[in-house]
Symmetry: C2
DNA sequence: CGGTCAAATTGACTTTTGTCAATGGTCGTG
DNA sequence: CACGACCATTGACAAAAGTCAATTTGACCG
C-alpha cells in the first residue's frame, strides 16, 4: 500500500517522536502545527501500525509448567496466562494470544483464521500493525448468525488490524443436503479457496464444545438434540466448524459431510497452528484437538494448564503399570 | 536467556501497561508498589527490549528517487533520509539506518558488523530489542585506536542493544608483515571466525574514504603518504578495513595482504548487505562499493541520492551515444 | 459568490507520566 | 553487632501528554 499524502504528516510526526525521541511540542514546532494535532497524529500512527509497540511474551513461556506441557504433548510452544491476580482475568488469555499471534506472523505470510468468541476476542484486543504483504484467509464457510464472532467478521477484523489483505469465504458453513455441499465444494471459487488453505504459514483457531452451549448450536447450524445425538456417536470437539472425535479425527456424520470448511489434513499441513482456549469446559475438546495433531502452539490459562498436565501424568502412570 | 527473578516484576509491569493498556497508577495498585517504581520499571523494560517500539521506515523507501536508485544499481532496497528540515540533519541517517537494520534482523540470524564512525553512530541510536538467539560477529580485525568506533566496540554495542551474543575478533586488523598475517589467518580460532562470515544473514557496514581523513589513517594503520601512494595505484574506498579499487575489487597491495578481515567473496555471500553512507565525501568510495556488488540495501541522505542518480543517468547517456 | 457542512485544527484545561531528593532496607565489613 | 556504602523505593513536584469544546479551513453546491 502506497502512503497516501495525508499519511505523510502522520508518519513524519511518528518518526520525529518515536525514532528521534523529540517531545510533542518539539515535533509540533518542527511541523508547524499545534501540539494537539501532534497528539492526534500519534494516536493515528499507533492505530494504523505506523508505529508498533510490542511486549515480549517470554514471561509466559518461561515457566516449568509450560515446558512440561510442551514435552508431554509434543508441542512447539506453550504460553500460560497466570490466573487473575489482576483486574480482568477473562481478558488475559485473549491479550496474551494476540501478542503471541503477532509474534508468530512473518513477512509475506498467509494466515488462516477460524471463528468463535475466543478468536473474536483476540482480534478485538490485537495491536495494529502494518504488514502490507500478509493475507488473512477464512478457514471455513460462513453462517448468518447475529453474533459478532462470525467467521467473516473474525477474518476481516484481524486483516484490518494487520493492514493485511482479507480473503473471505463466500459460502455457508453448513448446507441442508450432502449433495449440495459436494456441488458447492467443487465450484471453482470455493475449491480454490479450500485448496489454498494448506499453503498457509500460520493458523489461528479455538476449539469448540459439543454441548448445547456450542456455537454451532447457538448459531442454529445444529439443534441441541442433534448435538446430543452426535455426542453419543463420539463427537468430542469442534474445529473450524467441523466435529471431531476424541482422537481428533473428523467424525463420520451427515453434519460434517454437509460442511464447507478446511479439511483437517489441510490444517495439519500448516506449519504453525496456534490454538487458544479460554473456557473451563473446553478441556475435553482441547484434548481431542491435541490428539489429532491440530495444534503446534498453544495459549491457555493456568487452570487449564494444570488439568492438561495432570491428565498427561495420569496417562503415563497408566502406561507404566 | 532465562528471565531473572528481578526482571519478573519489570515484565509484569510492562505487560499490564503496554499489552493491557492500564495506566501507571493502576499497574502500581495491581503490583502493590508505588507509581514511581512503575515508571522506572517501564523505562527499564524499554531499555532491555522487553517492550519494543518501532516505527515504519516506509516513508523513506516510498519515494521515486529511492526506486530509481534501486533500478539503476540493481539494489534490493534504498532508504533516503530527507535533508535537515529538522533539528539535527546529521542524526537523520544513523537513526534511519538503525530502524532499517532492526527491521532487517530476523529470528536466529547471524549478523556481521564492520566498524567506523557511521556504524558506531548507528549503534548509539539503536533501539533496544530482545533477540536472544541472534549472534553479532565482528567482520574484521581490531585496532588499538583510542576511538569509540573501534571494531570490537561497534560489535559489542550492537550486541548489547539487541540482547544478542557478541562474537569478537581477537586479532589486529593489520600486521607488519605479510607472512605474519598469513600465519595468523591460518590459526584455527581466526580461520573459523573468517570462514563463518559467509554464513551471516545480514551485514552492516559503511564505506571509508582513501584520503588523509580515512579511519585507517587516523587509527595509524597507514600513514597519510602511504595512503596517497595507494590512491595513485587505484585505491577507491575502504570496506571492513580493506582497500578496494573503483570496480569494487580488492586492490592488489601489501596493505591488503597484511590485513585480517572478511574477504570480499564472503561478504558477497551474505544475502543482505546493508551499507550506510553519511558523509558528503564518500561518493566515490560508495560508487566503488556498489560496482563491486558489496551492497544490497542502502541508506543515504537526499544529497547523496541525487548524486548517485545523476551519475547513473550520465553513465546511461554515455552508453547510449 | 455566499451559504452550508464536515473535517481538520487549535487553545485551554485535565490527567497522566517523568524526575529526583529523601527515605528505608540490605548486605558486606570491621 | 554497629557502621557505612549501596541500591531499590517512594512522595511530592514538574513536565509532558491527552482531551474536548470552540473555531477555522476548505470543499461543495445552489
Amino acid at each position: 500500500m502506497a502512503i497516501r499524502p495525508a499519511d505523510q504528516i502522520v508518519h513524519k510526526a511518528a518518526w520525529l517522536y518515536y525514532a528521534h525521541g523529540l517531545r510533542q511540542d518539539q515535533v509540533a514546532q518542527q511541523l508547524n502545527i499545534s501540539r494537539a494535532s501532534v497528539a492526534m497524529y500519534l494516536r493515528k500512527a499507533r492505530e494504523t501500525g505506523i508505529v508498533n509497540i510490542s511486549t515480549s511474551t517470554q514471561l509466559f513461556t518461561d515457566d516449568v509448567t509450560a515446558r512440561e506441557i510442551e514435552d508431554a504433548f509434543g508441542l512447539d510452544a506453550v504460553w500460560i496466562a497466570p490466573h487473575g491476580d489482576h483486574v480482568d482475568p477473562a481478558a488475559e488469555v485473549p491479550v496474551l494470544a494476540a501478542s503471541v499471534f503477532l509474534q508468530l506472523v512473518g513477512k509475506g505470510d498467509k494466515i488462516g483464521v477460524a471463528w468463535g468468541q475466543t478468536v473474536y476476542a483476540i482480534a478485538d484486543v490485537m495491536a495494529y500493525a502494518d504488514l502490507q504483504d500478509v493475507t488473512v484467509v477464512q478457514l471455513c464457510g460462513n453462517l448468518g448468525a447475529p453474533f459478532a464472532y462470525r467467521p467473516d467478521q473474525c477474518t476481516m477484523e484481524i486483516a484490518r488490524r494487520l493492514n493485511a489483505k482479507g480473503l473471505n469465504f463466500y459460502a455457508p458453513l453448513v448446507l441442508s443436503t450432502e449433495g449440495l455441499a459436494k456441488d458447492l465444494r467443487s465450484e471453482p471459487v470455493i475449491r480454490e479457496q479450500l485448496a489454498g488453505i494448506s499453503e498457509c504459514d500460520l493458523a489461528l483457531y479455538s476449539i469448540g464444545t459439543v454441548d448445547a452451549g456450542s456455537h454451532v448450536v447457538k448459531c442454529g447450524a445444529l439443534t441441541s438434540d442433534e448435538m446430543d445425538a452426535l455426542r453419543r456417536e463420539g463427537a468430542a470437539g469442534v474445529v473450524a466448524g467441523q466435529i471431531i472425535d476424541n482422537k481428533g479425527a473428523l467424525l463420520d456424520c451427515s453434519y460434517n459431510r454437509r460442511c464447507i470448511s478446511a479439511d483437517l489434513a489441510s490444517l495439519r499441513a500448516i506449519p504453525k497452528r496456534l490454538v487458544v482456549v479460554q473456557e473451563e469446559n473446553k478441556f475435553e475438546p482441547l484434548l481431542a484437538g491435541l490428539a489429532g495433531g491440530l495444534c503446534t502452539h498453544l495459549v491457555i490459562n493456568a487452570a487449564m494448564a494444570r488439568r492438561l498436565l495432570d491428565h498427561a501424568k495420569a496417562a503415563n502412570r497408566r502406561k507404566a503399570s
